[in-house]
């Protein structure tokens, strides 16, 4: 059997992929190569001249304890955001899967947060937790807890983690729910007849069969936590207090556009790109082995 359909030579297929290639080149390849190039330059404070310095920017970065701090913080942040949002989404999806009546409404409501822009989500959490006007610090105060994430770095970190995770729950929920729907009902019934209770069925049958979905979401969530949380951090804490919520992607912005160290900022974004590529490769190489795909 022929594996491929053979067409005669024609320009049409090339024309059809051209828009996609153009988009990739203009919006990804070009900026990425610019960043690569920039990372090897040092500009003067007024932006009038630049000097090629090879890897000096990288050397400076690795010698900077603030950078290593941000590095650790980012891993901590990403791990918690991914596990928190995936964990809650899975819980909600399992619950929603059991709902018989009004499941459509339930699902729609759970998907809404995904439609909220990161900056808007950040603003929402900013107001809710605002130490002077927020409703939650007000409630916490009654319970004897004095919430002030503008002073307390740990509280600030907790807040951005919650906000970032909350934002992603809807997306994860949608995929987990679809994953749950794709598990044949008869498998669950067979396990029930085999004597497995709901918890055991979940652990030994449902969860392993969801592993392709879980793996996909893990990759997506890690990338999300690394790159797309900028808006949330900026709106809620702007990286503070005392850099305690300055994750790598925020530091790229802060050093580049606030500190105007364009070369250093570019070097950071190159490293960030490298980390995400590396993490994705690791996930595909090692985590995927534990994934069992169906026929």
């Amino acid at each position: 059997m022929l594996k491929r359909v053979h067409f005669g030579p024609s320009a049409l297929p090339y024309l059809l992929v051209l828009p996609q290639i153009l988009v990739t080149v203009i919006f990804f390849m070009w900026p990425a190569s610019q960043a690569l190039y920039q990372s090897l330059l040092v500009e003067d404070p007024f932006g009038l001249s630049s000097k090629f310095v090879w890897f000096e920017n990288f050397e400076d970065l690795f010698a900077d304890p603030l950078y290593w701090g941000s590095f650790q913080r980012t891993f901590f942040f990403s791990f918690l955001v991914a596990s928190l949002s995936m964990g809650s989404a899975l819980l909600l999806a399992v619950m929603a899967d059991r709902v018989v009546k009004g499941s459509g409404l339930y699902r729609t409501l759970l998907i809404w947060p995904y439609a909220v822009a990161p900056a808007a989500a950040g603003a929402l959490w900013f107001f809710m937790f605002n130490p002077t006007l927020g409703i939650l610090p007000y409630i916490l105060q009654f319970m004897g807890y004095d919430w002030n994430h503008k002073v307390n770095g740990n509280e600030a970190m907790a807040l951005v983690i919650f906000a970032a995770a909350w934002k992603q729950i809807a997306y994860n929920f949608l995929f987990f729910l679809a994953g749950l729907h794709s598990i044949p009902k008869s498998l669950i019934e067979a396990a029930a007849i085999d004597g497995a209770g709901p918890a055991r069925r979940f652990v030994s049958i449902v969860f392993p069969l969801l592993s392709p979905t879980t793996f996909f979401l893990l990759v997506i969530n890690v990338v999300y936590a690394f790159f797309e949380t900028f808006g949330i951090v900026d709106a809620i804490t702007s990286g503070g207090p005392a850099n305690s919520t300055q994750i790598l992607v925020y530091k790229v912005y802060n050093d580049g556009f606030v500190g105007l160290d364009l070369g250093g900022s570019a070097a950071q974004s190159v490293i960030l790109m490298g980390i995400v590529i590396g993490l994705t490769v690791i996930q595909f190489k090692f985590v995927e082995k534990k994934v069992s795909y169906n026929d």
Binding site: S186, L187, E189, A191, I193, D194, G197, L209, S292, D295
Partner: protein, 362 residues
Amino acid sequence: MASVKLDNIQKIYPNGFKAIHGVDVDVKDGEFLVLVGPSGCGKSTLLRMIAGLETVSGGELKIGDKIVNDLEPSKRDIAMVFQNYALYPHMTVYNNMAYGLKIMGLSKSEIDERVKNVAGILELTDEQLTRKPRQLSGGQRQRVAMGRAIVRKPSVFLFDEPLSNLDAKLRVQMRVEIKRLQASLGITSVYVTHDQVEAMTLGHRLMVLNEGVVEQLGTPIELYERPASLFVAEFIGSPSMNIMDAKIGAEGSSVDITKDISIAITSDKLSSYAGKGVKLGVRPEHLEFAEGDENALPLTVTLVEHLGADTLVHGHFGDDKTDMTVRRSGILKAVPGDQLPISITRNHIHLFDTNTSRRIDL
């Protein structure tokens, strides 16, 4: 080992639809009961109620001496083979079979012994035990599904159309194997199928269901020889029974098929039907060619099918062109357009009431 007793079992869905209208049956210990009927007749629902996968809306369900109406499936001491096998795709064949045993809390060595033993019975090799279900052929998956059921030593086996995903040749082979296994293990079994050949060959008794109502319960021979209703008559046997309109003679001593052709019957049961219309049934294999018989039906041949061992002749007779199929053994040289004289003998006819569709016993 246990009996399964259904006493006026009913299923009514929340929307008010009544899927099962009160089924009574006593499946004896070691018996093989087949539930058969067209799709949507409620046979799978009934099986799933026995399994505990559907709730029982009314009546009493007993496995052994225990009323199990509200028991969890796992507490009913049953095993089920599903239509799509429902093997756990992420587990090896060995673990598929061992899963239920692990939950039972058996020791590792006992699990191993049981699984190996059953694998031996089903002729699954050690190498196959280490594979995942997706690496097996349809027939092998079927065996694993059976193995998973057998290994638990349940008191009742439930089969939900287990052979319908197999190709024709494998189906015959597995059918024989299931029958042999059930006989040697002696485990009470309830088997659901829409295939009447499977039903006839496997079951000690058959229950024919139609729209949630039991049409007839009996041995395969009983169903074949004395179908209790038109539905059973047409459902059991392949090709299905020829059904035609007929009239009982004024004296109640003859069945008139056409104006000129009738069959004499001496039975006092027919007196109440004198002069009325009835349905007459006769199986294709019971029709004979009768050269020179003036009481024969003139069949106009429309189609001839050669099966090798048998020949099926399709045709019609009479002014209203009533369809009729004749089955004769051997190869019959006939072509469309031929006129063949067909005789119907008294011993092979079945009569049914036109209004109730029930059998009229002669």
